[in-house]
């Protein structure tokens, strides 16, 4: 150990023996009273802030529940409902996450069935205008499904054949349903819309069965 280090060690030892400054008892009591008052004031301020925070959280939760509820309710809504547009948003979102040809076909056929059910509901409520819109959307979905089958045929013929069978079955089922509906309607406008929809469905099936060169290039999502 060098002389310098020894000197500094002695100095350090001397520092350790220095008596600490001790606060007078009065100072400590005064300090405690001030700290206690400040803590109580701070706690009171926080508890005053709590109702506001709780209210904000309540509002946010209520809004989230409202939106979630509206979305859930919209799944069963029909075209004359105010929340019906939400249904379209949900359907588009669902369409955005379907990737395989089989899933896309199932998506289009499911939407076609939904549009057909909506058309039935609108006819029963004598809303022929909205029923016509639903039937038009029904045909659009079948046409999209048909074009999908045709595209798949160019890539994978066996898979396209399976898709075509599913489309044929769906069109047949829908045609039977439309035929029943046609027998029930009492207005010529409604009957005309149904006849047109049946024709469009049959045309969609022809598109799916036709070779690619003969298919219509147009598609609706």
């Amino acid at each position: 150990m060098t002389p310098e280090v020894q000197r500094l060690e002695r100095l350090a030892e001397r520092l350790r023996t220095v008596d600490p400054f001790v606060a007078p008892p009065g100072a400590k009591i005064r300090g405690w009273n001030l700290v206690l008052a400040a803590v109580e004031q701070s706690t009171a301020a926080r508890s005053r802030a709590h109702p506001v925070r709780r209210l904000l959280i309540g509002v946010v939760v209520a809004m989230v529940l409202l939106v979630a509820g509206a979305l859930a309710a919209s799944a069963d809504s029909v075209p004359d409902s105010p929340i019906y547009p939400l249904k379209g948003v949900l359907e588009s979102a669902r369409g955005a996450v379907t990737f395989s040809a089989a899933d896309k076909l199932a998506y289009h056929l499911d939407l076609a069935r939904t549009r057909l059910t909506e058309a039935e509901a609108m006819i029963s409520r004598h809303r022929v205008d909205l029923a016509g819109t639903s039937l038009k959307a029904f045909d659009d979905q079948l046409k999209s499904a048909a074009l999908l089958v045709q595209t798949e045929r160019q890539v994978n013929a066996p898979a396209a054949a399976r898709l075509q069978d599913r489309l044929r079955l769906a069109v047949a089922t829908a045609d039977q349903q439309l035929a029943d509906l046609q027998g029930q309607v009492q207005t010529s406008a409604a009957a005309g819309a149904i006849i047109q929809a049946r024709q469009q469905a049959a045309d969609a099936l022809k598109i799916a069965e036709a070779p690619a060169a003969q298919a219509s290039p147009t598609s609706s999502p």
Partner: protein, 188 residues
């Protein structure tokens, strides 16, 4: 005779949690545990009892009313309290002005004296306190925390935000500067 207990005990964390839940006994325990230490620290820095009392009270008030700001992520509560005390001291210097100190680290030894002549055992506590206050801010801090507060180099490193090695080097330089300051005082 040293009267200050060891700081940074392991149950600080539990006490802090209890204070957060409104336990006044835990609040009192933390206050009792740290007020004397902080008073001692601030007094050593400032050298004036009234100001030390005010700053110690301010430090404890800030520490115990703003526990929501204290995140126990590797930093002990004690380090947090000392940092608040240190910042309060710096703010006090800024508000009231402090004579700019020249580091004694590289100052030449007093022309008249050999360092070995310094009889440290005979130095008064007042001389030591006064000489410490001639040092730089960091040198004061490390000497007070290490020798007046009995903290380990590791604890001081946590408070000062330095590595243990840096604290040890700073301590060595601070002792050298203190020695020179004491020699200067003895010569004058």
């Amino acid at each position: 005779m040293r009267a200050l207990g060891k700081a940074a005990s392991d149950d600080d964390r539990l006490l802090v949690e209890r204070v957060r839940k409104g336990d006044q006994d835990a609040l009192r325990t933390l206050y009792e545990r740290y007020f004397d230490r902080i008073y001692n620290y601030v007094y050593a820095r400032l050298g004036r009892a009234e100001e030390a009392e005010d700053l110690a009270t301010d430090t404890m008030t800030k520490s115990l009313t703003r526990l929501d700001l204290f995140r126990d992520e590797g930093v002990p509560f004690s380090s947090w309290v000392y940092r608040i005390a240190h910042n309060a001291t710096i703010d006090h210097y800024r508000r009231h002005g402090k004579v700019a100190l020249v580091s004694l680290e590289h100052a030449p030894p007093s022309a008249s004296d050999d360092p070995s002549d310094l009889a440290v055992e005979q130095l008064s506590n007042e001389d030591l306190h006064a000489a410490i206050r001639d040092l730089t801010d960091e040198q004061q801090q490390v000497l007070i925390l290490r020798f007046f507060q009995d903290l380990t180099a590791n604890q001081v490193a946590g408070i000062m935000g330095k590595s243990v090695g840096a604290v040890q080097a700073l301590q060595h330089r601070a002792l050298g500067s203190l020695e020179r300051a004491l020699q200067g005082r003895a010569a004058s």
